[in-house]
Symmetry: C2
């Protein structure tokens, strides 16, 4: 964990014990063109570059049926992030924002989520557009899209 | 972990070592009206019942600025789920689907994600609509909404 001296003005860190409430298993790796943090776009876009999600072999059968979805949700571990900030100064302009009101990678559990376009599946590899994470980011999960506010959302229950 | 004898027809489980790639810290609890699994709706809905997200005290300052968002993303730990299934038979009808092509709580890293309506914030408590998880579910993260396909999505880059 970086020392507090790395904090920007008005940022606040907590002094926390090591996390130990649950454990994660990485199930693959994400390959993107973004090799350094400064290469990463602020947000992925559906017209962004093709990226590859490479699943570890034991999990490949778990893709069965995913090809039916045009868009998928991807969860990944932001492995280079510090986890102890409660207040952040993201633009270094003195505007201080709570960590949970930002989509910054700096958060108590640095899990990234992205809704991406599924271009195709090639064996253990998913080709997608819309990611913004570093090359080599560990994969946690893939889910079919669910957007309760989208055009496919369930209608309100009858009165 | 339940024994393989609990598998439904055609389901397949992996024999895996304990997960140890990264550790999570719970930052609060979710209170819902759903006390048993069979009470949980299949998907949360924006017109669903009010639920409460109760943040642990050290993280309350991290909410600063969140009140500006009408919808937020919530990540939580599906603490009662087995994690070793690659193929599932969700409706017991013989239609076998890969775990990553389902939004079932049974998955390698049982992290639930929901986009919910933020009704109000009362101190350490967020009142929301749209959750479908069990009462007492551990909270992992809260993020402002980001939907790259919604009406507020960035326009395509100029050619």
């Amino acid at each position: 964990m970086p020392p507090d001296t790395d904090l920007r003005a008005h940022e606040r860190a907590l002094d926390l014990p090591a996390p130990c409430d649950a454990a994660l298993r990485f199930i693959g790796r994400i390959r993107t063109p973004f090799e350094r943090r400064e290469d990463c776009p602020r947000q992925g876009r559906p017209d962004g570059p093709e990226c590859r999600i490479v699943l570890d072999e034991p999990w490949v059968p778990a893709l069965r049926g995913l090809e039916a979805f045009a868009r998928i949700e991807v969860l990944y571990w932001l492995h280079e992030s510090r986890r102890d900030l409660v207040l952040q100064n993201p633009r270094r302009d003195g505007r201080v924002v709570g960590t949970l009101a930002l989509r910054s990678p700096v958060r108590p559990n640095p899990i990234g989520t992205a809704l991406v376009v599924l271009e195709r599946i090639e064996g253990a590899t998913l080709v997608v557009r819309g990611l913004d994470c570093l090359d080599g980011t560990p994969l946690l999960d893939i889910k079919p899209e669910h957007c309760p506010f989208g055009p496919g959302a369930a209608p309100a229950a009858p009165e």
